[in-house]
């Protein structure tokens, strides 16, 4: 199987045959964007200082080494829990035209709708693998909103074959985590019935 690499700027056609469970890699611009940045754009109506059209965002708060003279180096970078951004993501996709949302764990109905209507993907980078992730970042091109502190600043990264990225929501709005959850919950009920019979310690 050949390696599927997407390069920014990404167009709708590039994503149409990609389905949940597929693995892809990203080359181009990946911008870290998490809790407060989402809140600023959607609720505080503060415009983002960068154009995200056709690009990718990363729900991530990296460790960055300041080399002085506005030069920075990524030490460790990996995803944070995407679900925290669920509240904002549909509108975020609509307003920015972002094509890939990289994070950790699943997202919900809003993001499914956003991905379906505006042809975008949510992808999972295996979390906790932050040194591996850092080796795929070629350089930090810019940084914005430094007032938010190291984890929340918008770090504009140039990446090469960044991945593996596992597709969790596709452009038809299919959601791998929601599908899995049905099965997980069914098995959980079975386990509860079995275990609860054996822990009746209060008699």
């Amino acid at each position: 199987m050949s390696k599927k690499v997407l390069t920014t700027p990404i167009k709708d056609e590039d994503l149409k045959d990609i389905r949940i469970g597929d693995i892809i890699y990203l080359t181009g611009t990946l911008v870290t964007c998490r809790d407060v940045a989402h809140r600023r754009l959607i609720e505080e109506k503060i415009p983002l200082p960068i154009d995200l059209k056709g690009k990718a965002i990363f729900h991530a708060g990296p460790i960055v080494r300041d080399l002085g003279n506005e030069q920075y180096e990524i030490v460790s970078i990996g995803p944070t829990t995407s679900m925290r951004m669920e509240k904002f993501e549909k509108e975020f996709i609509e307003e920015t035209g972002v094509k890939l949302i990289v994070g950790k764990g699943g997202m919900g109905k809003n993001t499914e709708e956003g991905c379906k209507t505006h042809k975008a993907l949510h992808l999972v980078f295996p979390a906790g693998n932050a040194v591996y992730g850092a080796t795929k970042v070629e350089e930090i091109k810019e940084v914005h909103w430094k007032d938010l502190g190291m984890p929340e600043s918008l770090w504009v990264c140039e990446v090469k074959e960044f991945g593996p990225l596992i597709v969790s929501i596709d452009t038809e709005g299919n959601n791998i985590f929601e599908e899995n959850k049905i099965e997980f919950n069914k098995r959980k009920e079975e386990q509860y019935e079995y275990i609860s019979q054996q822990v009746r310690f209060i008699k």
């Binding site: 950790k104 999972v124 985590f177 509860y192 822990v199 209060i202």
Partner: protein, 299 residues
């Protein structure tokens, strides 16, 4: 060595220890992850495990934090009443986090509440969190160091059940959390379950449970039985690494329990992610140290 020099020495060692914990997983966790990956036959899960092992290798070689979320530092201290720096220890631990944050570097993870700004120092009001226990007739100090990342802190939950709900209620409380929040907390998880009289006793027990080694068992027969049942039960759900399905879900389930009021069962759940960065270091009165969790490592 006078007290000032002792204090400097211990701060330096603890700073290096915190750094070590950021880039090297403890032996019990490494061993368990290897075991789980070998039992895995799901395609995606195998790719994820492969990435994990490559990452840990790189982190150790480059001496960089293996996960970017180096957490809020938590210390569980068991201090002998005669340990010479007993009165200085809080400050030593705080200083060591600040020093390690600059030197490793670690991420700045202290946001002052209500004023809502990141201190930029990785220390703040009440962070690092330090939990104390004093030991009689001892001049040593045992320190568990833990990096409580956001992802694995998020599933944390505590409640008080009625005795009528029984331990069946405890099981339900734990299982429900696994399929709602657990799957996003970077499985395979180490699950800490605390049982006690109230929310705060149960919550502290559940975190202490995460300090216990993977594969250890509660001394109480019933509690040990419940650990095994929950471990097998959560594994049967098949969360897999990253919650993307697999043959297992957890590294283990550890229960820590204390007594309860006749009318209440306090219960809490805490989760440790696969990147369970915990370490235990013991100092004697001359500041010679032993590291139990990471064999063959010197600072």
């Amino acid at each position: 060595m006078d007290k000032k020099q002792q204090k400097e020495k211990m701060t330096g060692l603890m700073s290096k220890f915190v750094s070590l914990v950021s880039y090297k997983l403890p032996d019990d966790v490494e061993k368990k992850l290897k075991e789980l990956s070998e039992e895995e036959d799901n395609h995606l899960a195998k790719i994820i495990y492969k990435t994990m092992f490559e990452n840990q290798q790189l982190a150790f070689e480059l001496k960089r934090p293996s996960c970017q979320d180096t957490g809020v530092l938590q210390f569980f201290v068991k201090c002998g009443e005669n340990f010479p720096l007993i009165g200085q220890l809080d400050n030593i631990l705080r200083e060591s986090v600040f020093k390690s944050t600059k030197e490793t570097p670690l991420r700045h993870n202290s946001v002052e509440t209500f004023d809502e700004y990141n201190t930029g120092k990785n220390i703040g009001n009440g962070t690092p969190s330090i939990f104390w226990e004093i030991e009689e007739d001892s001049d040593k100090v045992e320190i568990y160091t833990y990096m409580a990342g956001g992802g694995c802190t998020l599933p944390g939950v505590a409640t008080v059940l009625m005795p009528g709900e029984g331990y069946e209620g405890v099981v339900k409380f734990v299982l429900d959390r696994m399929t709602s929040y657990g799957l996003n907390a970077c499985p395979p998880l180490l699950v800490g379950v605390g049982v006690g009289t109230s929310v705060e006793t149960a919550a502290l027990n559940s975190k202490l449970a995460l300090m216990r080694p993977v594969g250890s068992r509660n001394e109480n027969e019933n509690a040990a039985k419940m650990e095994q049942l929950l471990e097998d039960g959560i594994n049967a759900i098949g969360l897999g690494p990253q919650g993307l399905k697999g043959s297992k879900s957890v590294m283990g389930v550890n229960v820590v329990n204390t007594a309860r009021h006749p009318s209440t069962i306090g219960v809490a759940v805490n989760t440790g992610c696969w990147s369970h960065r915990r370490g235990k270091i013991t100092f004697d009165r001359d500041l010679n140290y032993v590291i139990d969790t990471h064999e063959g490592v010197t600072l």
